[in-house]
């Protein structure tokens, strides 16, 4: 019995991206996700009440900031025209509430209250107002699972915003984010902002990820060791946005 079930589990793990396994996963999530939504609402009631008060205070501040941003946006359009830049479409995003934050050792996922019914598909980028959060990995009718940026098996093509140096952002076992495969002679400084490079079918170019906090250049290595601190507080997220139009949008 044990041998058979372990073999079956191993088979499932090896065929994780097959349509059949994704179908099973989405349906199990679909059935139990709705129940989880209700349990999540109960546990979040108090938090929502406090959050509501906080949001009211912040609304006044954001209204002011919004007017400044509108000005910046109009200025941006003018400058783009001047430079002959092709006008690019903005993201189409939908807001989502995090029902649960699931940290299980190296694995980190969020359960969202949006799903197929809201237009969410697999492999869509998930952002917060601070930056990149992760990507959708399983989507059911009204819920979706998001793999977080600090999940050990998460990878994203990234670059330094200032110098356009590219690399791959990977979490380490200790939970830090490393920008890997950046040549040793590249121009990278502490404080540089790291953004998505757009070399991906999933992430649009230019989404902010984090800031460089430490750089090591061992003389015997080919690549730098660059530590990145994410802008998003991944442990205390409550709301996110799912980007429905993926690809090179920015």
């Amino acid at each position: 019995m044990l041998f058979f079930l372990l073999l079956l589990s191993a088979f499932l793990m090896l065929s994780n991206n097959s349509r059949q396994v994704l179908w099973i996963r989405a349906n199990v999530l679909g059935v139990l996700g709705s129940a989880s939504k209700w349990m999540g609402v109960v546990s979040q009631y108090r938090a929502l009440k406090l959050e509501n008060e906080l949001l009211r205070e912040r609304l006044a501040l954001f209204a002011y900031e919004n007017s400044l941003m509108k000005e910046a946006y109009l200025e941006n359009i003018r400058l783009r025209k001047l430079l002959g830049f092709k006008k690019r479409s903005p993201f189409k995003v939908i807001p989502a509430r995090i029902l649960s934050n699931q940290v299980e050792g190296f694995s980190h996922a969020y359960l969202l209250d949006v799903g197929k019914a809201d237009g969410v598909r697999r492999n869509l980028p998930v952002l917060s107002s601070e930056g990149l959060v992760g990507k959708t990995v399983v989507v059911a009718g009204g819920t979706a699972v998001v793999q977080a940026l600090d999940d050990l098996n998460y990878r994203v093509a990234a670059m330094i915003q200032r110098s356009r140096v590219r690399g791959i952002l990977e979490p380490t076992e200790s939970g830090k984010l490393l920008l890997k495969y950046v040549p040793i002679l590249s121009d990278v400084r502490v404080g540089d902002v790291v953004i998505t490079s757009g070399v991906s079918r999933i992430y649009p170019k230019g989404v902010e990820i984090g800031v460089v906090t430490k750089i090591e250049s061992p003389p015997t290595e080919l690549f730098k060791r660059i530590e990145v601190k994410p802008f998003v507080d991944l442990e205390n997220l409550e709301e996110v946005f799912v980007v429905l139009t993926s690809g090179k949008v920015l």
């Binding site: 589990s9 999540g40 299980e104 699972v145």
Partner: protein
Amino acid sequence: MKPFGWAIGFILVVLLEVAFAGFMTVYGIRPDFILLYLIPFSLEFSRAKGTAGGFAVGLIQDAFGASLFGLNAFCKAFAGFLVHVIPSRFLGPRFLHAGSLIFFVTLFHDFFYNWIYSLGTGANVIFIFFRYALPGAAYTAMLGLLIKAIFPGYLRVKRAE
């Protein structure tokens, strides 16, 4: 309790884990409610049923996570099996049996889970053991003992085989 009652319990405990375990996470370590339910289930029934129960509940849990589909099923099937094979002499004095059993089963479960999930990433097994498996096992065992203190009928370590 009848098998149907246990099955409903499994679904409820997965939902409980998904909805509330996040609030009890300390430095990335969370208690495993599902194991706290699976261990008495496995003790109540047989080794084979414990293994099958672990597989089924693990599969449901996998649907909610971003990890490999089948990984929790693998580890929980192993955990359900392990309940019956850990020799009693490893469990220490009789009054500690329940806590020790939860501790060892969770230790194996968390170690294998994180080790398999990190394959190919270069993660250090000693790091996995001390950073995740050991604290996770201690946390879950303490919670199990707390449940036992409140409900003395919980987890009577009396192997079915």
